[in-house]
């Protein structure tokens, strides 16, 4: 039983959670909804005792788990496990079997019991034939499964999942659904935070909706989805028609890392002002393809024509001027000390100047005016993403490559960004989000190194 009383949390003078009250019964399953930045992850961290034990900030109120206060983490550690969004940082060893055994070793189980448990849980999660694999070589979804197996082997009673569906393809999503269903059947308390629960929504007994750190809804899932829908109302994004001029032409592109072939014979053409989405499972080579298109990675075979000229005839700077690239991790693309300097960084490198008017326009278009002079690293994840897109657009490239642009972005700002660029630039989006296929002219999927055209969704 989890009891939350008057929980508030302030992080560097910003209130993330405000006076939250609710309680969860044993073996109940809860869905926590909310747009990104509404405080879902922080709430999960508060429930597991990571806040206030490991992260500093102003914490007030009480979280009781079976009557034990989370301020003493040693008492509750055994009962609860949290699976964070990114599996890479939660992997602590190198082999699948060691990863499952890690927690059991910490609990001082004897070796025989550990062997037995590792085998049992590997079988349960379909990892039996991969026990000796290097975790590095597993797919993204499998890594997530390994972590969940490790948690279950420790016999945790309460399991928390932070965006379990993020970055998974549809088959993996179904598998995750079955997994959670099974955990629920076993009588575990399952608590999931998601912004887009799609297939998971029929699984839960109760639903909480967070908005800007406040609990705005506590009831059944159907009602919760409606509340979320109201919160995420946004402008429409319209599909536009491209011009009849092929500006990027890729023929027989192949790429391999060492012996591993990642891309095989990829062919496609992009028209001017067209919007194209490339989907596929994590690690299938979407980002690699994009890097090859900018000539940042040298392809093994094939031809790329940019504006009817081979890409090798351009210098790397000229290519960078024509193709703007926004990468997935916003922390990696911040080099300057203020938002305006950051936006100016690209144009400065190309010897261009942007006027005050243009700068003001960019800042309002990306809703960054109020943060004009702050340090980019002090922005929230969503703001950082908007900044990285703004700083790519500022040097006025013809083609824009966006790697997971909506990840961590609320729908209002997503449509705001898309509306400001669609129809004016040629856009190549790399994303798992199915909603993005609705604004695209064409959708491709990369599978086993090959590219297949898929059907576009309905217009948004």
């Amino acid at each position: 039983m989890i009891d939350v009383k008057n929980l508030s949390f302030e992080y560097s003078n910003k209130a993330v959670l405000r006076r939250i009250n609710f309680s969860i019964k044993d073996s109940e399953s809860i869905l926590i909804l909310g747009v990104s930045g509404s405080g879902k992850t922080t709430l999960l961290k508060c429930l597991t005792g990571i806040i206030p034990n490991m992260i500093e900030g102003r914490f007030s109120g009480k979280v009781l788990i079976d009557g034990k206060n989370t301020k003493k983490i040693e008492k509750i550690q055994n009962d609860m496990g949290i699976v964070l969004q990114d599996p890479e940082t939660q992997i602590l060893t190198t082999k699948v079997s060691h990863e499952i055994a890690f927690g059991l070793e910490n609990l001082c189980y004897d070796k025989k019991t550990i062997s037995k448990l590792v085998k049992k849980f590997a079988k349960k999660f379909g990892l039996s034939d991969k026990l000796n694999y290097d975790i590095k070589n597993l797919s993204y979804g499998e890594k997530k499964k390994v972590i969940i197996a490790a948690m279950c082997a420790m016999d945790k009673k309460i399991l928390f999942f932070d965006e379990p569906l993020a970055n998974l393809d549809i088959n993996m999503k179904k598998e995750m659904f079955n997994l959670l269903k099974q955990l629920k059947k076993e009588g575990k308390t399952v608590i999931v935070a998601e912004q887009n629960p799609c297939i998971l929504k029929n699984l839960f007994d109760k639903c909480l909706v967070l908005d800007k750190g406040k609990l705005v809804y506590n009831g059944n899932v159907k009602g919760g989805m409606e509340v979320l829908k109201k919160l995420t109302e946004h402008q429409r994004v319209h599909r536009t028609k491209p011009e009849d001029d092929y500006i990027l032409n890729v023929r027989n592109l192949s790429f391999s890392y060492g012996r591993k072939r990642i891309l095989k014979n990829i062919n496609f053409k992009i028209k001017k002002n067209e919007v194209i989405t490339i989907t596929g499972e994590n690690g299938c080579g979407k980002t690699t393809l994009a890097l090859c298109l900018c000539n940042l990675l040298k392809r093994k075979k094939g031809k790329i024509k940019l504006f009817h000229k081979s890409i090798d005839e351009y210098s790397s700077k000229q290519v960078a001027e024509k193709i703007g690239f926004v990468f997935q991790n916003p922390n990696f693309q911040i080099f300057k000390n203020s938002v305006t300097d950051e936006i100016n960084y690209g144009p400065e490198n190309f010897g261009k100047e942007i006027s005050n008017r243009e700068m003001g326009e960019l800042l309002t278009n990306y809703d960054l005016s109020h943060k004009k002079n702050s340090h980019p690293f002090s922005l929230s994840l969503g703001e950082k993403r908007r900044l990285t897109i703004a700083s790519a657009v500022s040097s006025d490239p013809e083609i824009l490559i966006l790697d997971e642009p909506v990840f961590g972005q609320d729908p209002y700002h997503t449509s705001m960004i898309l509306n400001s660029i669609i129809g004016k630039k040629t856009i190549l989006i790399i994303s798992h989000e199915e909603s993005l296929s609705r604004i695209s002219n064409r959708v491709f999927e990369i599978k086993d190194g090959k590219m297949v055209e898929k059907k576009c969704g309905r217009a948004m």
């Binding site: 992260i55 590792v118 940042l296 690239f325």
Partner: protein, 195 residues
């Protein structure tokens, strides 16, 4: 476990020899022998050798110049060869130990919490190296050109440190969280299981 002790028995004397001896020919022999040992335990040595070569190309000229400035050229050559053979042996040794193995070995000497910190650091070194490469690419995509003299190049490399540092801090929070949910460090002892 016996296997890791065998490795230690093979490599530690080589390291000690490389530290004590001054004869150039013997030092070169020692490095070759250590590479041969490494080949027995680790089938794909190619990566290690490449990173070793990169490392040596950077350090050898620096060492030669500095040593010649403060001492004679002959001394500089001996010192450099000694230094490089030492690094060859230690690289070879490092490449033979897997994360779990070294964790187990280290924790027989140090408290296990401390041992794990060392192992985790070594493991994340690789991740950070990859990150730096990626950030370099991103900067290139925004029109940055690696031009200019030596000092300018070093300065531009310094620009990469802030993003790497910030991202590592964020990652560290996640790792701490993962360690916590796996009950790391709740007892003073820990079993070491091996399949």
């Amino acid at each position: 476990m016996w296997k890791s002790y065998v490795k230690l028995v093979l490599f530690v004397p080589l390291i000690i020899l490389a530290l004590i001896l001054k004869d150039i020919q013997v030092l070169i022999m020692i490095s070759l022998v250590s590479l041969a040992f490494a080949k027995i335990f680790n089938k794909n040595l190619k990566k290690t050798i490449i990173s070793l070569a990169k490392y040596l190309v950077l350090t050898i000229p620096l060492l030669l110049i500095l040593w010649t400035l403060f001492s004679s050229f002959d001394d500089a050559i001996i010192a450099t060869i000694k230094f490089s053979s030492l690094s060859v042996v230690s690289f070879a040794m490092m490449s033979c130990f897997q994360v779990n193995e070294s964790f187990k070995l280290l924790s027989s000497i140090f408290p296990y919490k401390f041992a794990f910190i060392i192992v985790l650091c070594v493991r994340y070194m690789e991740v950070i190296k990859e990150d730096i490469g990626r950030i370099g690419l991103i900067r290139k995509a925004r029109g940055f050109e690696d031009k200019g003299n030596f000092i300018k190049k070093i300065k531009s490399k310094m620009e990469l440190i802030v993003p790497v540092f910030v991202d590592s801090l964020i990652k560290a929070e996640d790792i701490a969280c993962a360690l916590d949910t796996r009950c790391f460090g709740i007892y003073n002892k820990r079993t070491f299981w091996k399949s």
